[in-house]
Subunit: 408 residues, 2 copies
């Protein structure tokens, strides 16, 4: 019995997650800059434990949940988004579905929209787990390059040429992996293109509240107003805890029935109990104060890693771009022919982990010299040690594998 | 912008869940025999609350979970399945994935195996939410009729004719909706067919432990042994609580990588915290004693509803088949031209809910006079009142819509 004969085309199209592989390769004594994961010591454990206790006392939460998710949390989110200026006037809780993290929402939208062969616009580089879901469904990706102001509208138009795309997927604040934030001017220009060319915008915004400096941006979702072509994805993974697996998507009402039909066929619904625990946490705690604390801590971690890497490795050809928030440092490193091979070497021999940038590019052959460091889980002393190990790895790798080369 | 142009074929193929619709139609003062849902008073709330408290004290559970799910629970399940004689010798925790209820597992397998146009064998009647997932992926369904011993092997062979099917989906104990249990002889015959014709078996077994009388059956999964063509689906929804959204699938090891790749692209992973809470519950409580209690209570409910319906409605043409376990009574009711219309009438006018049997048949036009009652949530006094309302609805519906007809 040859299993390959049994697999669907989508099963054949999907492959392993490189980020998960790199994270596993490192082992427990490694210093990891691999995963875009909140720092465990910044998870509000006490508040969450109390919140779970309040939720677990409600017998109704142990029955089958409603398909869209726990209503009080959807109400809370709708109100919060409106107060934050992120939502158009028409948003109400019936335009919200709670999902198993953002990935659940990305998948729901991939299943709803993508027919094999469809064109999907994404940033380049972009979040690879989104690409996994889109490519599994058979999407052909049209990559739109980003600079420090976000995706470049002229390039988007150029890449589309005369073709039709279903949607543009974009991470709008402190993008994973490049750290860029889309300016409001860029958003306006891209919205205008979306209208003209007839595509949806999938606005993924998990890092919005981890801003270290500068002013908050607007959202496509709010800017589009009555032009109902934006789906907004939010998540509690980065600001409360990824383990609660609670994200959401907010969408124009005319998408609701179809999204709920697909969702039911996928999983009925994720657990209302964890959604209720998130709601109980939000009710009993000052989220604003928590976010201020997170931003302060993560800024400190960013600064420590930037300083340490610059000190140790800029002389070796590492160039970093410094984001105004989020979890990631993005950079380039000259003179490494195969960054994946180097990353494996560094993980194995020097116990330091990072992600070769090329895995974030939809097209093969791009981003060969780029590199991503996640600083969220690294305390300052780990950053110093990790940066030293990185520089050590770089030097010894070059010595072994390209001894003729000397950048100094 | 016409939304239809944006939807994938799968989005167009999926439709609303009739069971969810019927359940909603009834309203709060109705007596519902619609949903296959455990009785809230049989959910072990105290034990679950303690279990959630123990789980929520572990910070690691608030980080991103592993893709396959919480290892201690997978170990517990592997051991339990082995002790229960349900597992082949090769089963170990790496052949198990925890899912968002059984639906999560059904969907995972649908995505992995089904290519549009593929033939999938199911029982007829069968669980409609499984059909939703299979048909969404574009499966063509080959229905295999069941009798009181389960699916009929000769019919299965006849229906397949010379064609290739990817798998046979079967609910082996106290099947939803017909209540039938597949005998071990039938399993052996169908396994032999599976070998000969080269298809997988998807064995769905959520009701196994809700047996009221008679001896437990074997599993396809164990019977197949080294012939690794069975995937076994289990669930805590019916025996602990559906709200924990915790099911599992157990599979031959060579399926593991592909299932995990698909799972990651769908949702990364469901929350480990709820999986850990299930594990903590199982550790601290006597599951065997709990199952004995559940079986006694649900038997009582079955008996009450059977008695009440026979007393009130057998004179009106209702014929019931009495299952040896599970949640469902299945029957036929003569002289109703449109059972869906009647069900809507009964819900609206007499505040009693049940499901027209035809929605459980993969092919249109079958099961026109069949009907499903779920007894799990109905306490004996509700069954008496509900049966009276059902008889009242039947009489008045016949009077209004077919006044010439008189069965008495």
């Amino acid at each position: 019995m040859d299993l390959q004969d049994f697999f669907s085309m989508k099963a054949r199209r999907v492959g392993p997650s490189i980020i998960a592989q790199m994270a596993r390769m490192l082992g427990p004594d490694g210093i990891s800059f691999t995963s875009g994961e909140p720092s465990p010591d910044l998870i509000p454990l006490l508040g969450l434990r109390e919140a779970f206790d309040r939720a677990a006392g409600q017998v109704s939460l142990f029955s089958y949940p409603t398909t869209a998710g726990y209503l009080p949390l959807r109400e809370w989110i709708a109100e919060w988004m409106s107060r934050e200026g992120l939502a158009p006037a028409w948003l109400d809780p019936s335009c919200l579905i709670l999902t198993n993290g953002s990935q659940g929402a990305l998948n729901l939208l991939a299943e709803t929209f993508i027919e094999p062969g469809d064109l999907i616009l994404t940033e380049s580089p972009t979040y690879p787990e989104a690409l996994l879901a889109f490519q599994r469904e058979g999407a052909r990706i049209l990559p739109v390059p980003v600079d420090e102001e976000g995706p470049i509208p002229e390039k988007l138009e150029e890449r589309m040429a005369g073709a039709k795309a279903k949607f543009f997927y974009t991470v709008v604040n402190f993008q994973n992996p490049s750290g860029c934030t889309t300016s409001d001017a860029r958003k306006a220009a891209i919205l205008e293109l979306a209208r003209r060319k007839g595509f949806f915008i999938l606005e993924d915004d998990p890092y919005r509240y981890l801003r270290f400096e500068g002013k908050p941006t607007k959202s496509y979702f709010e800017m589009a107003g009555e032009d109902r072509r934006v789906v907004y994805l939010g998540s509690f993974s980065k600001i409360i805890a990824p383990g609660v697996r609670c994200g959401w998507c907010a969408f124009p009402l005319n998408l609701k029935d179809k999204l709920l039909e697909i969702r039911l066929s996928l999983e009925l619904c994720p657990p209302a109990l964890t959604q209720a625990a998130v709601f109980e946490f939000l009710r009993a705690n000052d989220l604003r104060a928590h976010l201020v604390k997170l931003a302060r801590e993560y800024k400190n971690r960013r600064d420590s890693l930037v300083q340490a890497l610059n000190r140790e490795a800029s002389r070796l050809g590492l160039r970093l771009s410094v984001p105004k928030g989020g979890f990631f440092l993005w950079g380039t490193c000259e003179g490494i022919a195969d960054m994946f091979e180097f990353a494996q070497y560094a993980a194995r021999e020097k116990r330091v982990g990072f992600i070769p940038g090329r895995f974030f590019f939809p097209l093969e052959g791009e981003g060969a010299d780029s590199i991503r460091f996640a600083f969220a889980k690294a305390a300052p002393e780990q950053s110093r040690e990790g940066a030293a190990r990185f520089a050590d790895a770089l030097e010894s790798y070059r010595r072994i594998f390209s001894p003729g080369r000397n950048l100094q």
